[in-house]
Symmetry: C2
Subunit: 476 residues, 2 copies
Amino acid sequence: MSAPPDGEMSLPATPMELYEKVTLQGGTVRLLKSNKAPKEEIDAAVKELLALKMDYKTLAGQEYKVGIPPTNSTTVNNNSLAIAEDGGDYVDPWTVQTSSAKGVDYDKLIVRFGSSKIDQELINRMEQVTGQKAHRFFRRGIFFSHRDMHQILDAFEMKKSFYLYTGRGPSSEAMHVGHLIPFIFTKWLQDVFNVPLVIQLTDDEKYLWKDMTLEQAYNYAIENAKDIIACGFDINKTFIFSDLDYMGQSSGFYQNVVKIQKHVTFNQVKGIFGFGDSDCIGKISFPAIQAAPSFSTSFPQIFNGQKDIPCLIPCAIDQDPYFRMTRDVAPRIGYPKPALLHSIFFPALQGAQTKMSASDSNSSVFLTDTPKQIKTKINKHAFSGGKDTIEEHQRFGGNCEVDVSYMYLTFFLEDDEKLEKIRQDYSSGKLLTGELKKILIETLQSIITEHQLRRKQVTNETVKQFMTPRKLVFDF
Amino acid sequence: MSAPPDGEMSLPATPMELYEKVTLQGGTVRLLKSNKAPKEEIDAAVKELLALKMDYKTLAGQEYKVGIPPTNSTTVNNNSLAIAEDGGDYVDPWTVQTSSAKGVDYDKLIVRFGSSKIDQELINRMEQVTGQKAHRFFRRGIFFSHRDMHQILDAFEMKKSFYLYTGRGPSSEAMHVGHLIPFIFTKWLQDVFNVPLVIQLTDDEKYLWKDMTLEQAYNYAIENAKDIIACGFDINKTFIFSDLDYMGQSSGFYQNVVKIQKHVTFNQVKGIFGFGDSDCIGKISFPAIQAAPSFSTSFPQIFNGQKDIPCLIPCAIDQDPYFRMTRDVAPRIGYPKPALLHSIFFPALQGAQTKMSASDSNSSVFLTDTPKQIKTKINKHAFSGGKDTIEEHQRFGGNCEVDVSYMYLTFFLEDDEKLEKIRQDYSSGKLLTGELKKILIETLQSIITEHQLRRKQVTNETVKQFMTPRKLVFDF
């Protein structure tokens, strides 16, 4: 299996296997050149060759050299594909860490992960196809990267539909504001495209990774479902499921899990997720469970067994390793590759060096916080790009690039002009840190109070309805 | 976690971990001795120490020496626990191989696996408790080893019930006569003890291990179910399930699978089953799926959520690694350990060096064979312990210990006296090889013809009934 032409990386195998792939691809390039093949064909082959060489270097720890196979044939257990090695950024599904207060260098992550940038052209096309103004998350680069979004739009233009898949790992009862991002965005996508949506709650994953019982993990899933439902999803088009429940409700789901598990080796999950020999076998096989909802046959009750309905996955970029694996496996089990829309991380209160984490209550604004708690947390913890004294601030201005309050406003303030004015005023020193924080506090208080009101209206009966496997209402 | 007092091995960890266990146990022994503890207590601790030292030697490849930790701390990937190393016997769930024409040395296997011999005392007790003559498989050492069978009988005497669990990997449509052994025996146990029975068809396992589609594996499961039903199981007390089906029908089953998967590491399955880094993650996590039916909560529809109903598993000894793992995990997830009854292997036609295998049609008598095919196969392939000429045979006698026809008769001929007469006459040379084969041919023809008749009566509707998750009829 050679790397797909879009430059996406295939799964890592042993250095020796990769060595042979590079050698083979080198031969392909030479053949194309000697046959005077069309330029774009040669270019694509060269691009693939370079990507393979890069993978080889990462995996084997040495440059590819013709005729010199890897000296050490053991696979290096180094999370290689999960690391954006340049600049010291570390990104995998469990850890986000960078030394820069501006946050992770997302342009480098795009190169490293082999995804595509969401550029103005794509945004324009989306507006044209849907007849709607692009969501502020698109306009502001919060969803910044994609895989195959053009194919989803192609299909949509041809009146072929698709479905949305997103999810959450229910690690605690309380979700924080950062957790809302994919759901706010997915709700908008559902409204704009009018398509069915499945939301996976990986309670099995949390049970496997954390020190909690199955019952706790399941209860968190139910509590989290209430917060998700409060985002306003259409009950006729949305299926929310707990893995612990749904695995026992649908043989289609388990059958896809087994299909995926047959086509991914331990070496591969070791390379992608950094698993080791002392990890439990549940963790090792879990990636297949997060992959399976990418295929419409996992939901026979919704798609009636149709196996070619494309899937679009909005998620934070740290979840991409799961879906790189999924896209690698898809053609080998006869399914279309899922398309993806990647968001940046929601920064911790203390700064964009890491993402907001529910397990650190000081770093997070929870959806259960009172207006007073919100005020205290922002005032006390939100990292400021302002200067130490009012005089200095007024003279030199604040730094929006590292200011967490400003960053949060880019997520939550809908009005572009108002946001731009805040940016200018803060950068010039006209707007003081306290004033900026006050705008954020009021914005968050309003968002969270409204969320709490909507959540109160979510009854157990409603949760049960959303989580019952059933037909959804759609046109294709 | 120290090794249980019955000498059963706990799961292998790293040599270093085992080294520390041995050291710790050595301390315990010294302490007991210096405290002048009761003799049986000291003896038990010494027995455990010796078992741990033996495990250490296998895993670390060196003798345990006080104060000298293992030199090479990497775990040896050598199927260690699956090998009966003495005498060159090799036994794991996929391979049975020995250099001896008499077959595997089962007494050594008992020592190596840490199980208990089924001795005359146990057989007498079973006859007393059930009021029934012991099955010929007990009388003739075909079921020769057990774990905790006395506890099952204790419970039964106190009117507490238990359930039976056995299974089959549906690797092909055609089952051979050897496949009948656990089912003939399990049916007898069901009749004698009057308890519910679950039969697992591991179609997911066969899909993962073999070059076949999910649909093929599932179809084999259905075809095999017909052969199993033809053994005469009580439809009111028996639930037969395909993993591919049942995983999607019961959240209790998946939840137990995840619980087990959280408590077993890759290192452990590597040590027990010999899995390597290039094995697919499906194989690596599969042992949890064969383990889960050992716990009554995997069948909420049958046991109504009761989590303490003991399980008795009749199976061939090569399946023991799965259940050693299961027994190690059980107390850590709050469940009772399953009890086991182990059978010897059904020898290949060519001799007891290996077991009968459906993938080698020359080594097997299939349940679909015609009387003529049976006759030809036995005459042509059944390894004989007779002499080369009639004169020599009459003078020196045949060797029943290596004669496959005689071995098969020990499995299928009910009449003890008749079998003993055959043994004497063959050993003395009075019975010729052709005559012995004729007795076997007629016996097998009768068994298989009757089986085929009963199988024809198994309708698709009956299969569906057996395979529908439902309440079973029992008294506890």
